[in-house]
């Protein structure tokens, strides 16, 4: 994680970029075939860059009539076989929730980039916030699993954008890349070699007459045939059977819903990424993510210089929630402090996970200003 501006000359795969620029570059590197968006601050740069670059690559960019339509169009393109994404911020993300649920239910790979701004409602469009954590997890109605990734630097915005496409394709799931205004607009050195190898969507191995788009016989993540390739099947937001046809049979519904959860829950190890620093000897462990983690890391350094043993567990994956890593981080700790720019959304997850094993406190800020290292340090010192 970079916490300081780039120093020294840029290497061959390095560029001086803004977070949103890195996301656009990464989407192109990931092989995005379709991008739809509706204008919104502070996500606009992503659309602007892709509107220029995608047509030059023969890919499709379209500005839709609203955010409900963007995610619908993205899913249409994904069923056509393209890697597809949209980018938005809070108000647009709220409008998209209907289709986040559809993507989860119908298991359509797609990437939703949400550059958080201060809410609720129109809030302060240009101000940093991490108020959409729980909306990312539970914004749509009904019970469903969700994958949410959160970068803390421009390099990481690049790497996690590529990873978002990979996880979406691998698990046939919507993936939310949860950016914040700071990471979106900060300019620093970005390593464009940071992305993982690309994952190609699995194609059906069964002949069309035996293919079942939701058939458990094909595994927890059945391959998704592209439309128009001879596999004629049905996609619906209704509860469905292995063929995708609507059903009201509770046994079928249960088994499909179980598979929906199993495909994520059985692969938490593959999906979850964290970065731990100084956890071995720490009496105070900070848990943070996104822009807040940069201040948390700075506070850790300041505290250590004063002789206070502070560690940091930085979450790159917010959901599925890194329960194992949080429990491990708490083992040596006297106290856990969750650092985030909201009233304590992820803190509740940490408290739920630790269930009294270790005291949990929050360091929060919610006025649209970046949380400062000194606010965190002050809290740390009060417990030293």
């Amino acid at each position: 994680m970079n916490t300081a501006p780039a120093a020294g000359p840029l290497g061959r795969t390095e560029r001086f970029l803004q977070g949103n620029e890195a996301v656009a570059e990464a989407a192109l590197a990931a092989g995005i075939g379709f991008f739809a968006a509706y204008p919104i601050t502070p996500a606009s740069e992503i659309s602007q860059i892709l509107s220029e670059r995608m047509p030059r690559k023969g890919k499709v960019f379209i500005q839709m009539e609203d955010e409900i339509a963007t995610l619908a169009a993205v899913m249409g393109a994904s069923l056509g076989g393209e890697k597809a994404a949209t980018a938005t911020s809070g108000p647009g993300f709220s409008l998209m929730q209907e289709h986040v649920g559809y993507a989860a239910m119908a298991e359509i790979p797609c990437v939703i980039i949400n550059v958080q701004r201060l809410g609720p409602s129109t809030g302060k469009p240009t101000a940093p916030s991490q108020g959409d954590v729980m909306q990312s997890r539970w914004g749509t109605h009904g019970d469903h699993p969700m994958i949410v990734l959160c970068p803390a630097s421009v390099s990481e915005a690049y790497a996690l954008t590529i990873r978002s496409f990979n996880l979406a394709e691998k698990y046939r799931s919507p993936v939310i890349l949860l950016m914040d205004e700071v990471i979106a607009h900060i300019r620093e050195k970005a390593d464009l070699s940071a992305g993982e190898p690309l994952f190609a969507r699995a194609q059906p191995w069964a002949p069309p007459d035996q293919y079942l788009p939701y058939g458990e016989a094909f595994g927890d993540v059945p391959p998704l045939a592209s439309y128009g390739k001879g596999y004629r099947y049905h996609v619906t937001g209704l509860c469905h059977d292995g063929a995708g046809l609507p059903t009201v049979d509770p046994l079928v519904i249960r088994s499909q819903m179980d598979r929906l959860f199993r495909k994520i829950n059985n692969n938490v190890e593959d999906i979850v990424q964290v970065q731990a620093e100084n956890l071995e000897d720490s009496e105070v462990v900070l848990i943070s993510y996104g822009a807040s983690a940069r201040s948390a890391r700075h506070a850790m350094k300041l505290a250590r210089a004063k002789g206070i043993r502070v560690g940091l567990l930085r979450l790159l994956t917010l959901f599925p929630f890194p329960e194992k890593q949080v429990l491990e981080a708490a083992r040596p700790a006297r106290i856990i402090m969750v650092v985030e720019m909201n009233f304590g959304q992820l803190r509740a997850e940490v408290e739920r996970t630790l269930a009294g094993v270790c005291p949990v406190e929050g360091v929060h800020r919610w006025d649209g200003e970046m949380i400062s290292p000194f606010q965190i340090l002050e809290k740390v010192e009060s417990h030293a």
Partner: protein, 265 residues
């Protein structure tokens, strides 16, 4: 072109998804039949058709048809269709929506689909009510007609879908009814063949809710009503046939032209 045999029409249905959930006498099945006959006569392969519907009684049509089918969310079928058609211009995209689906909750997507003039055929099955939820008033319920949420008669004017589609920029606009099945089938064929956004409004009877609540009677009397209205009797004349047929730039072709003119990145 000889008329398709029943067995041939049947082969376009997913038999294991039948019977349909439509009520006896419902007009939606007639529309499904007209679409299948149009596709057979145009000799389009099943694999090459994407068939996309919204939510409601009409929305269920996609589940019964043996194409690449998407039963989308309420009102959003045209937005899904836009993404799929742009990603896969090789597919023939047919969208079927109910009147509330297309013009209340989906109104925004409807006008923009017409404005872009992307090569999609949009069929609006107009039964003037929300059938699935029990007969509520829709934006296509004529003023004065009763509905379960307009027990004293609707005080709102109804949209004219065809005028809206034309004003918004669709290349092809037509209207017919389930009484005029031969005409409906021909209009669907023309709509599919037309490059650009085609909107076809098909008046279809909902005897169980609309017919009962408005006193228009059962399926036969509602169908006869369409016949009479075609003659201009009872003071209502349904204007039928091709209403708009223009050569307008098509969005997908425009996009591909744009791409072709750019230097590769």
């Amino acid at each position: 072109m000889p008329e398709p045999r029943i067995s041939q029409v049947k082969s376009y249905l997913r038999l294991k998804a039948l019977p349909t959930l439509w009520c006896p006498g419902c007009g939606i099945g007639l529309v499904a039949s007209a679409i299948i006959r149009a596709v057979i006569k145009l000799s389009i392969k099943k694999d090459d058709i994407a068939f996309i519907t919204g939510i409601g009684c009409t929305g269920r049509m996609s589940g019964y048809m043996d194409f690449n089918t998407i039963h989308t969310t309420h009102g959003r079928a045209l937005a899904f269709a836009a993404g799929l058609k742009l990603a896969r211009p090789d597919l023939t995209v047919i969208v079927v929506m109910g009147d509330g689906d297309a013009l209340a909750i989906g109104g925004n997507h409807f006008i923009h689909a017409c404005r872009r003039n992307l090569d999609i055929t949009a069929i609006v099955v107009n039964n003037s009510t929300y059938g699935m939820t029990g007969g509520q008033v829709s934006p296509l319920t004529p003023r004065g007609e009763k509905a379960v949420t307009a027990p004293y008669g609707s005080i709102e004017p109804a949209f004219d879908v065809t005028k809206l589609a034309e004003a918004a920029g669709a290349s092809f606009v037509a209207r017919s009814t389930t009484y005029h099945m031969v005409e409906a089938e021909k209009l669907i064929m023309k709509g599919i063949e037309k490059k650009g956004a085609s909107v076809i409004e098909l008046m279809a009877q909902c005897p169980v809710y609309y017919g009962r609540l408005t006193g228009k009677g059962g399926p036969a009397s509602m169908l006869l009503g369409y016949r009479e209205s075609a003659k201009g009797k009872e003071g209502i004349r349904i204007e039928r046939g091709v209403l708009v047929d223009k050569e307008l730039p098509e969005y997908g072709q425009n996009y591909r032209n744009l791409v072709a003119g750019l230097k590769e990145d």
